[in-house]
Symmetry: C2
Subunit: 294 residues, 2 copies
């Protein structure tokens, strides 16, 4: 079986995912947060996946070592931790609270063994039309986390979100913009700031391929799902890989050509479909689609 992960080259041949659950990750958002993290971890491990990315709402951040033990017990590695609180707020108190909350997330990530905290940065603050000002709030908030990142060893993956979320979830909307921010936040390329490439958010981008090549080692995560042609709800009607129109293999080829060798992570928010199904059926479908199509 092909396994180029042992290669030391910047960009070896594209990996073969067939029957390689060990290269794959389940983001627990895919299961709809219906069960405790220990149960989800058991299901994910039972299907042969090597990695898990949990969400903060599943973790008791005052005692994250409990969840860490439950995950470790299943033999799973924690790929990343989702996600930051929004950095934008109408007043300085709100912005400081977000930073404090995100420090707590970094500390919990460290206990969980997650090398990366995913950043979803926030949209316009509720009473603002000042898009440039809100973007600066986000940059200031991210910069304020650096000491905690260095203390915990946890990096931040800036996740550009689809522009449909610009108003209320993220003013970081393209990979090129995320890379510009990385350069601003981490000018010496020490690697504290990188990017998460999510198929759902970036597939449409005319600059996608050059941006991926530019990203290189900044790529800290690769998320897959699919964009359904008839999307009923932009937030919670994401498709299973293969059910939509994204060329996922082309995306992974580009990301791996840029040097990425981390897990391929499934993240599907699907209130209308997959979250209504049996979790084991969802996971088995993920596995089959990952092996065959991604």
């Amino acid at each position: 079986m092909a396994d180029s992960s042992s290669s030391d080259s910047e960009a070896g041949p594209m990996r073969d995912l067939a029957r390689r659950g060990d290269l794959c990750c389940i983001n627990t958002g895919t299961l709809g947060f219906r069960e405790p993290i220990a149960v989800s971890a058991r299901r994910i491990a039972a299907q042969g996946f090597g990695h898990i990315t949990p969400w903060r709402q599943e973790i008791d951040e005052d005692h994250p070592e409990r969840a860490a033990a439950a995950i470790r017990e299943q033999g799973l590695s924690v790929a990343a931790y989702c996600r930051t609180a929004y950095f934008t707020a109408d007043d300085p108190t709100g912005r400081r609270a977000a930073i404090d909350d995100n420090r707590k997330a970094l500390e919990a990530a460290a206990v969980l063994g997650a090398p990366v905290l995913v950043a979803v940065v926030g949209g316009l603050s509720p009473h603002s039309k000042d898009i440039a000002g809100c973007r600066q709030q986000i940059l200031d908030g991210l910069a304020a986390l650096l000491p905690t990142m260095q203390a915990t060893g946890v990096r931040i993956a800036l996740e550009p979100l689809h522009p449909v979320y610009a108003a209320d979830r993220s003013l970081l909307n393209t990979l090129a913009q995320a890379l510009d921010w990385c350069e601003q936040l981490d000018p010496r390329q020490e690697g504290w700031f990188g990017v998460a490439v999510d198929a759902y958010h970036v597939w449409w981008d005319p600059d996608l391929m050059p941006s991926i090549a530019r990203a290189g080692k900044r790529i800290l995560a690769l998320h897959v799902c699919d964009w359904l042609c008839e999307t009923r709800d932009p937030l919670q009607d994401r498709g299973m890989m293969g059910d939509g129109l994204v060329d996922l293999r082309r995306l992974r080829a580009a990301v791996e050509a840029a040097g990425y060798r981390g897990p391929v992570e499934v993240e599907i928010f699907s209130k209308l479909d997959w979250w209504t199904r049996n979790p084991d059926e969802v996971l088995a479908t993920c596995r089959e689609r990952l092996f065959r199509l991604c």
Copy 2:
């Protein structure tokens, strides 16, 4: 009253829209296509607007001179004509049919006195995941229209659509991409291809301001409406200017600083709200918001 439209400079001071209906345009999409074009034109003129942009579905393209006369009778100028058929199709026959259809649109635009045909270029063709190939189909289709554009004198305004429409309506999604296409289609800058800047589609773009400056005289239309924070339907729940979170005055300032002196056009698709209201109420609201907020 300030009126810098007489200035010959590239970018005079920003125009004052207050009580300047003569600088404003109503795109008939704002009224929901509920009445014949002659009725809409009468209502629009009665409220003091100087310009109208009709849609193809309102015009009998075998006899466009009838609509042209009805509009002229109201003293309105036709700012533009909406819009091209999608250029993408699974087979060459479909692509040729789109080109033929768009030639007909150019000819009708000329009869209507519209200097510009707005291009909404199409998403992925129904059975394709080949985003690069579909974009090439669009470029080929646009290039094929040039002889008809030259024969009729009608230019094409490429309208980048918000990325939420990439799957099914438009693979042209940023202003920078539209300008790249203009340079490819019109390398000698003869002006046959330009862009339409629509607040709804571009407000989120981190490259918006530099792209507008780059666009300069390529800007052939400025569309305003608003992005509602709680958008219920990305297609037909656009907001009235002032009801959402877009800084419309900042947008117009940038577009006018780039040299634009054409009409400010209202285009609101709002099945859930404005299309249910009395057309005269809608127009009066447009006027008041244009004068006060745009």
